[in-house]
Amino acid sequence: MNATTASKGTRVLGAVALVGVATMLLFGLVISPPDGVSVAQAEGGQRIGQGEVVRIMYVHVPTAIIAFLAFFVTVAGSIVYLLRRSEWADVVAHASGELGAVLLFAALVTGALWGEPVWGTYWEWQDPRLTTTAVLFFLVLGYLAVRRLPLERGRRSRLSAVVGLLLGPTTVVCHFATTWWVGLHQGPTISRLDPQIDGTMLFSLMVAMATFGVLYAWLVLHRFRVLWLENRVEDLGLEVALAERRAEGRTMATSGVVGSPPTPSGVPS
């Protein structure tokens, strides 16, 4: 039996992700300049900008964007599951939702750490992007809670798919929050034809985006396989337990062993 969820493809993906992380660190921490040196100079020659703090951007922006992407995958998986009852789509939605939650949490934490030196506060209630992201995060926690309900799998999957669908509108609102309303977050910066960012910074950010994208794909693949195997174990659970008991009974009868019953897995406690 294969004791790993890795395959040739995921090993390659993992290696690419690790190289990507190293490259991201090189560009994010060494090559890209601090804000204010290359971009903005005040009239009096005094430096303005965020200085070294801007480097948080190389984690904050990619984690937020890939998290949104992950939730769209969850929504798509939920729709496909509801239409076709595809276990594959259900497991993809689950795996992507989990990874999305981790990435969104990272985006919230890095955002707070970035906000304190730049805005003077960890949290600003008047900022629509922040508040909608917080709401989205708790919706995702709710989705993951439904995924863990001790129900029959088919029912749990149907309920999860309906809750997963509801992540869609919130993610859209969250994404467009900076366009629709005025807040502390700046509007679209890199997703426009004339990106409003220094060239090296933009390249470093693109490296970080690609790296987090590959990391997401790599981890989702592994998580998908673990969840798929969990489903198989659940399918086989009762049959395997009964077979184990019968085998133990036969062994004890032939060897004449009398003692405390073995643990369910057959391994002595």
């Binding site: 509801l82 508040t131 709401v135 989205l136 708790f138 919706l139 926690l141 709710g142 809670a145 439904v146 309900l149 001790p150 129900l151 029912r155 149907r158 309920l159 798919a161 309906v162 809750v163 669908l165 509801l166 509108p169």
Partner: protein
């Protein structure tokens, strides 16, 4: 579907009228929340008066959790949930009936709490033409969201504890819009208030549509 909705709503409201759970438990709970806010804010009338719109809607929101749990607990004992599924009622009608029954109870609760905030917080409620529609649509939105998720957790004790986790974040836009509409009414900015009410209508309509479409799946009929 509409006939089924009317049947279910009448059935739920008749049960409420006979058991008086809303009157004996829901209403005292909501008023108690108002009292607790006053304790938490050190009975500072100026603060309470300023925060009245938010406190009013938070109290309604918390009470709506109980109302929704109650609405779906009615069918828990003796396999009634299965009986409802076997009755041949349209799932959308079932959902709309539940929403209507919960919304009526919440609207009555809003009327009670409106008196409560005037008496306890010294709040002045003006612009009834804006406040009353806000309360009606707010109650409808709360009921729609609650029943969408209530259908999910209804009838299963294992799922009951996650109802607040699912419902409260989903209700954040409603809380915001309803509070802002109340504030606009209090500060004599009706134009802004109507815009928030429009958002509230869109939100409620969205959830009524979504719940009607998905309730069959939540009941395992899909």
């Amino acid at each position: 579907m509409w006939r089924d909705a009317a049947l279910v709503a009448a059935k739920d409201l008749r049960i409420e009228a006979r058991t008086r759970v809303a009157l004996n438990q829901l209403a005292p709970f909501a008023v108690l929340v108002l009292l607790l806010f006053a304790f938490a804010f050190d009975a500072e009338r100026t603060v309470l008066r300023g925060a009245t719109p938010g406190l009013f809607w938070v109290a309604i929101l918390l009470a709506s959790l109980l109302a929704v749990q109650r609405a779906f607990a009615l069918e828990r004992p003796d396999g009634l949930r299965d009986a409802v599924r076997l009755s041949g009622l349209h799932p959308g009608g079932l959902f709309l009936g539940k929403v209507a029954a919960v919304a009526v109870q919440l609207f009555a609760l809003e009327a009670l709490l409106a008196v409560g905030v005037v008496a306890l917080y010294d709040a002045s409620l003006s612009a009834p033409l804006l406040l009353v529609p806000t309360c009606i649509v707010g109650a409808l939105g709360l009921a729609a969201v609650g029943c969408t998720y209530g259908g999910l957790t209804g009838g299963q004790r294992v799922a009951e504890t996650i109802l607040p986790l699912l419902v409260l974040p989903a209700l954040a836009p409603l809380l915001l819009a309803a509070t802002q509409a109340f504030e606009a009414a209090a500060e004599d900015r009706p134009g802004e208030g109507w815009r928030w009410l429009a958002l509230l209508v869109a939100f409620a309509a969205g959830y009524v549509g979504l719940g009607t479409a998905t309730f069959g799946i939540l009941l395992d009929d899909g």
